[in-house]
């Protein structure tokens, strides 16, 4: 390699710009946008996972009924958000969902099924409303809906999967520790620390 070639190669390496083709910045499809929306926000992630974890303590049929209730009610909240109907204290409600659900897991509260469904349903409206309000109009709306419902459901399933740890000797303590972390994250959002 000649000095000239070496200099050219070095200058290309030193002064080259970063390629932005697949960084994920500017997600350009409705499905991807909807799918990543719940996953990119920790306040959403902890609440969705918490629903699955709490279900594990409640046992059957709650472990499966709550993930049925949540998407249904969340969609109603999403519809309200898209329609532009205001809902007070949405962000507070989302942060509170982390705190409340986290504490329910920490104390392994065994609420009756209908009460659990009501608690989860109320918080689902706040989460859905946030998704609906922040829906990006430049993307495919149907793809967005499909993406965010699937992502939400998968987060529930992750929570349920971790919830099965309660079958192990040390598992219940581990899940309760998870609940404490969820409550702390929720509190962080509630008090503006995160």
């Amino acid at each position: 390699m000649t000095i000239k070639q070496l200099a050219t190669a070095l200058s290309l390496m030193i002064f080259s710009s970063m390629a932005f083709a697949h960084t994920g910045e500017g997600i350009n499809t409705g499905f991807a946008s909807g799918f990543w929306h719940p996953i990119m926000g920790w306040d959403h992630v902890v609440a969705m996972v918490a629903v699955g974890l709490w279900g594990a303590f409640l046992g059957a049929p709650a472990i499966w009924i709550l993930p049925v209730v949540f998407p249904l009610v969340m969609a109603i909240g999403g519809a309200l958000g898209i329609a532009g109907m205001p809902l007070p204290a949405v962000e507070t409600g989302i942060a509170l969902s982390g705190v409340v659900l986290g504490l329910l897991i920490v104390f392994a509260v065994k609420a009756p099924l209908w009460i659990a469904a009501v608690i989860v349903g109320i918080f689902a409206i706040f989460h859905g409303h946030a998704h609906g309000t922040e829906f990006p109009t430049e993307f495919n709306a149907y793809g967005y809906a499909v993406g965010f419902v699937i992502a939400t459901g998968l987060l529930h399933l992750i929570g349920i999967a971790f919830g099965f740890l309660t079958k192990l000797d040390f598992g219940a303590s581990l899940v309760r520790l998870g609940g404490a972390i969820i409550a702390l994250v929720g509190a962080g959002y509630l008090f503006g620390v995160l």
Binding site: A79, Y142, A145
Partner: protein, 202 residues
């Protein structure tokens, strides 16, 4: 010097100058198969009709084993009625089909046991609205027959797919797990269709 034989030249000619194969075109020189695929695609690649028909399929599976045998004739009656009414409908029918799809999926997700009259009525209305969405505004026999056949089979396919998948899960997985898995799928479909309704109004 070696010359290629006549048979090799003939073979080369036939390879290099092939004509279009018309074996599966449903009529040499016509585009019947393309029309059929186009008709089926109208249903399968449209979110409104796809989600409504999939929801019905899952609900049928939750209703009873092989329930599709009883529900499908009513679905087809709905398709025929939809064909007859299609010329008079406008865009409102998209919302109608989504409402029926959302109701079907919500009932599938919410009820422990599905009821026969409810399932059959929803099969009829789903067929009716899906056909009206697919043929919206087209007067009778305006399109080629192969398109109508494609739309009809395209509408039946997701119903069968939903019912078959649901039945497979219910038969092969443990009872406590499988039923709720199908209901979770219904709840996802319901949520998506409720969101779609909001998008329509938006």
């Amino acid at each position: 010097m070696v010359y290629p034989s006549r048979s090799i030249l003939l073979l080369l000619t036939s390879v290099l100058l092939p004509n279009l194969a018309v074996a599966h075109s449903f009529g040499a020189g016509t585009d019947q198969f393309a029309s059929f695929v186009e008709g089926a695609s109208v249903v399968i690649f449209d979110q409104v009709t796809l989600f409504a028909t999939l929801s019905l399929g899952l609900m049928i599976a939750l209703w009873k084993n092989r329930g599709v045998v009883q529900a499908l004739p009513l679905f087809v009656v709905g398709l025929v009625l939809g064909f007859l009414l299609a010329p008079s409908v406008t865009t409102w029918v998209m919302m109608g089909a989504t409402v029926v799809g959302a109701i079907t999926a919500t009932l599938g997700a919410s009820l422990n046991q599905q009821f026969k009259p409810l399932t059959l009525i929803l099969a009829l209305f789903t067929g009716l609205l899906v056909q009206m969405v697919s043929l919206e505004g087209h007067v009778w026999m305006e399109l080629s027959v192969s398109i109508y056949v494609g739309v009809t089979l395209g509408a039946i396919l997701p119903v069968m797919l939903g019912a078959a998948t649901g039945e497979l899960l219910l038969e092969k997985l443990p009872a406590t797990f499988s039923r709720i898995a199908v209901r979770v799928a219904c709840s996802w479909l319901a949520a998506i269709q409720i969101m779609m309704l909001a998008f329509f109004s938006h």
